[in-house]
Structures are given as C-alpha cells and as structure tokens.
C-alpha cells in the first residue's frame, strides 16, 4: 500500500517493538503534527514540494510502525486552514501531492479493505478545490465500513473551525423542522460540552493518547485543542522527514512513563463526562436523533461532493 510502507525492520528493531508491546500500554490513538518539511528541504537545498513529498514518504513509514505496534487510530495534521496564507505555488503543489496520493489510495481500496482501514478526512473540505473534494469524499465513502484501523487526515482543518462548525450544527439543528416546539427539538439544557464534543469532526474517535510534534516547536498550532486535554504531549527536535524508528519508540516509552501519572486526571475527566451525559439526557431520543441526523447530513454532503 502506498500509504503504508513495507518497512524492513532489523532484528534489534523487532526486539524493541516486541518489548514495548509486551511491557507497557500501547497508545490506542496517536496524533502527529508533521512539522519541518520545508526546513528539511532548505537544509538539503531541494524544492519545498520535494520536502513535502519526502514528508509523505516518512508518514508511510510511521503508519507502518503504528500498524505493527498495534496502534488502532492515527491522526495526522496534513494541511491547516492557516496554510492557505502560503504562496499559491506552494498551496497548489500541496494540493497536487494530495491529488496524487488520494488517487493512489483509491486504486488500493481492496488492500485497505483487507486490512480493515477506514480513512476519514477531518476539516472543512469544502474549502478545497472541487476535484480534491471529490477524491477525498470518495476515499471516505469507499472505506466507511472498515472498522479495524482508522486513519484520520486533518485537511483544511483548524480546531477553532471545528468547534465553530459544532456550534453551527447545534444552532442549525431545527432548520428542517417546521415545529420548533416539537418533541425532536433540542432543549437548551441538552447543550453542554458532551454534546459539543459529539458534534466535532472527530465524534467517532476517542481523544488522542499521545500527540507527537516534530521540529522542536512546542505549540499545538490549533490542532485538536478540544480533544487533547488529557493527552501526553511529546515534542522532539528532529524534523519530520528525518524521524527514525527510534524517535518513534522513544515517544512510546515517554507515553508509557507519563500515562500512569495522568491516569488519575483522565479517570476524573471520564467520570465527569459520564456524569454530564447522564444528567443532561445525552442518551435521550431527541439528542440521539439529532446526532444521527448530523451523521446523515455529513454523509449526504460526502455523497454530493463525490458525485461532483
């Protein structure tokens, strides 16, 4: 598969993998901020787009490592809404790279089905060019029934935009109904952080256990700000195209070490979320109908984009 490389492990690497898998907890969900492609390109005196291309090749390796480690869900921050501020040449180059990779992906859906990999693109995909929207929507629809492994690609994404669309979804929920006072209308008391969380793009994903950012920056750049309140943040100085399997394994060790310390806080947050859901009738028919309608509308949008 082009998105998952056929990485050849050495004996030592295989031993290290097995050791970490057997001794400690393996994160269920890792989020990657793939930073440093352009700086890498500058250091090697190559074109920026070539740097991004090498970055994608590294992503393929990382996905292989995650697959073999037993990590079920991976989210990558591929393109931010803020990145539209870059030069049109670079933006078009990135879109061309995306077109190439998604087209290759669509040619390999049988292999994706074989491994049970579901592709989700999170973000405001309506900001993308129409042909890219079609490719993205098609990839999502073709793999929507897979449920073993999940690859979320944040494309045209910022956390603020995601939160804004969640609020928008709640505010617009009665647009199709004639009677606002009907039984299906959301009540103001239904609206809390539990409901908003269920309206985010990542509504079917658990929060990331580990956030891995390369290139030495120690900020989150508007990536999954709502979801990572209980995540271990791991920052490394190495540039994305330069990361090695040992950098990856070091992050897993850091997660295994830090996880125990965060466990009490995480448990408290989970209990708070459960309590909130129970007290606010999150599981009531009207709220669940609203969420089902949200899923249905999102699917309808994907179908309309795929048939553009």
């Amino acid at each position: 598969m082009s998105w998952v490389s056929d990485y050849q492990y050495t004996c030592l690497q295989k031993l290290a993998f097995q050791t970490l898998q057997l001794t400690g907890y393996v994160p269920h969900h890792i989020a990657f901020v793939m930073d440093g492609n352009r700086r890498f390109a500058r250091s090697k005196h190559i074109d920026k787009i070539e740097g991004h291309s090498l970055g994608f090749a590294k992503l393929a390796d990382v996905l292989r490592w995650c697959l073999d480690m037993g990590i079920r869900e991976v989210t990558t921050f591929a393109f931010s809404i803020e990145n539209f501020k870059r030069s049109s040449e670079e933006v078009e180059g990135l879109f061309n790279l995306a077109r190439e990779k998604f087209s290759t992906l669509l040619a390999e859906t049988s292999r994706l089905d074989e491994h049970g990999i579901q592709i989700r693109v999170i973000g405001n995909i309506e900001l993308l060019p129409k042909d890219l929207q079609r490719l993205v929507a098609t990839a999502m629809l073709r793999t929507e029934r897979n449920d073993k492994l999940f690859l979320n690609v944040a494309f045209a994404y910022t956390s603020r935009d995601e939160i804004t669309q969640a609020v928008e979804a709640v505010l617009k929920n009665n647009n199709d109904d004639d009677d606002d006072e009907g039984q299906d209308a959301l009540q103001p008391t239904d609206i809390n952080e539990r409901l908003l969380e269920a309206c985010l793009y990542t509504r079917h994903s658990p929060p990331p256990d580990l956030v891995f950012r390369t290139s030495g920056e120690t900020r989150l750049s508007d990536f999954m700000m709502w979801q990572l309140s209980t995540s271990v943040l791991y920052f490394t100085d190495v540039l994305w195209p330069q990361i090695t399997i040992w950098n990856f394994l070091a992050s897993i060790v850091a997660y295994q070490r830090d996880r125990c310390r965060l466990e009490a806080f995480r448990r408290q947050e989970r209990l708070h979320s459960v309590h909130l859901a129970k007290s606010s009738e999150f599981y009531s028919l009207r709220v669940q109908k609203f969420l089902l309608k949200l899923d249905a509308n999102r699917r309808k949008l994907l179908i309309s984009l795929a048939s553009n």
Binding site: T23, F84, R86, R160, L171, N174, P188, L220, M225, T230
Partner: protein, 286 residues
C-alpha cells in the same frame, strides 16, 4: 522464549527509567534545597533581578501574556513560588499573567486573592493586580536604594512585544482561570446562542462561518471577564506536558514549556524559558 526475553528486557528498561527518574528527582530536590538556602543567605532577591536585567538586553521578544499551568498532582508550586514568578514577570514587563491551577484546596490550590490585590472593577473575584499596593511601595523603595538605581520608573510595559530596557513597576494583571473556563464555557456560549437563535443577530452569524467564529470569540472574551491577548507562552508545572483542558479556544498558538515538578524555579529558570520563547519562530501557518 523470545516473549519472556522481551518481557524481561521491558521490565528492566522500565526499572532503569524509574531508577533514573528517582535519582534525578533526588538531585533536583537537593539542588532546590541548596539553592533555597543560598537565596535565604542572600537575604533579598536583588541578585536575581540583576541577573534578569542583564538577560533582558539579549531578548528579542517577550510574551504579552504568560499562563502558568499547575498539574493536579503537583505539590511544589505554592504561594512563595507564585509570588516569585509574578515578581519576575512584572519586572521584565509582561503585562498579563494567568494562573490555571488544577489542584483542589486540599492538594495545594492557591487562591490568588491571598497574594494579589483584587481589581476594584472585578465582580467575580478572578482579576487581580500584582504586586498589592503595600508591596509595590516597598519594592520601589528597595529598587531606588539598591539595584537598578540608574533606571527610571516607567509606566508602560513592553512596547509592541519587544523587551524594553528597564525594569517596570506597573502592576501586573493576573487572572485566575477555572476548569469551567474551558470546554464548559464554550458550551455555555453555544447554549446562549441557541436560546436566541431566532434573533436577527444569531441568524446573521449563521450566514457565514467566519462571522459565527468572530461572534463566539467575542462572547467568550466577555464571559471570561478579561479582554487580553491570547497567551503566547505557557509554563506547565508538572512532570509531563499536558494542557489539562486549558482554554481550548485561546491557547492554539501558545508555546508550552514544562518545568518539571521538584526542580527549583528561580530567575535562571525563568530567563531560560524566555530565551527559548524568544528563539522560536511563529510562522502563523505561512
């Protein structure tokens, strides 16, 4: 057989890491004891401000808003440390500082009303000034007699985010951030908008996402009760880096630096963090 070997290696690795961390923690505590003893022997903190003064000249930029994040399991951050940090921030000219303390009163939570002067205009008891008036007069007296005697008292903080050349005696604005200011506040704003969804204002906001985004931003600022720049620098007092639910809307570009629990926090630590912040390049997506 291989599995047993892997488990053994893994356990040894974890034991090794645990032992290393224990020794490291022991070293930090001994170092903290020695440093605290040295500072106590110094009798006052003049030497720290001399050090900061010298470092200020080399800093290209300073944050306008600093946020301190204290982990729920931290037991080292107390009122003494907070006062020290407030003093450093006020001295270098950072105008705004927020404290996000995830502890409970029984595990070390510090209410800023014990340390700072409450703002007269603040009705919800979360907006403070540092130093309180009596300490401010004391500090001004000390500085005019002791170190930094050549520098004048200025009434402004940093100018356009760049380090100014002298110490500042303007009171630092300090905010106490609650857990309810994070996800719950955004939900409250959503609920408020939902209750008035038929109004022309909300319908106008729903026409374009950017308008709704700006509306949410304005409402959050109003609800928080303080209109300040977004935090540019965050210091996490914990043994691991985590946001602990800090202001998900506001900290999107905040540079986080972790000050490991147990390590002594002094002027050198503070300046080191400022140096790291000054060196980082904010590209804003470009």
């Amino acid at each position: 057989m291989l599995q047993i070997l892997c488990i053994l290696i893994g356990r040894l690795l974890l034991m090794g890491i645990g032992a290393y961390e224990l020794l490291q923690q022991l070293y930090y505590r001994l170092h903290a004891l020695a440093s605290r003893s040295y500072d106590y022997w110094q009798c006052d903190d003049k030497h720290e401000f001399v050090f900061i003064r010298a470092a200020l000249d080399k800093l290209q930029k300073l944050p306008q808003h600093l946020v301190l994040v204290i982990a729920p399991d931290d037991c080292y951050v107390n009122d003494v440390l907070l006062k020290r940090v407030f003093g450093y921030a006020q001295f270098v000219g950072i105008p705004y500082l927020s404290v996000y303390d995830k502890r409970t009163p029984s595990t070390g939570y510090v209410h800023l009303s014990q340390l700072c002067q409450t703002m007269a205009s603040d009705t919800n008891d979360r907006h403070f000034l540092w130093p309180p008036k009596e300490i401010k007069e004391q500090i001004q007296h000390q500085h005019s007699n002791g170190c930094c005697s050549k520098t004048a008292v200025v009434t402004n903080g940093t100018v356009n985010g760049y380090a100014s050349k002298g110490p500042h005696y303007t009171q630092l604005q300090v905010y106490q951030i609650d857990s309810a200011d994070g996800h719950a506040l955004i939900a409250d704003v959503c609920r408020e908008l939902y209750e008035t969804r038929k109004s022309a204002q909300v319908e106008g906001m729903l026409k374009e996402r950017q308008t709704l985004h700006d509306g949410i931003n304005a409402m959050l600022s109003k609800r928080l009760g303080f209109v300040v720049p977004e935090p540019e620098l965050g210091i996490v007092f914990a043994r691991q880096t985590c946001t602990y639910g800090l202001l998900p809307w506001h900290v999107r570009f905040t540079e986080f630096h972790t000050h490991r629990g147990g390590r002594y926090f002094n002027a050198k630590s503070f300046v080191k963090i400022l140096y790291k912040y000054a060196r980082c390049e904010q590209r804003w997506g470009k």
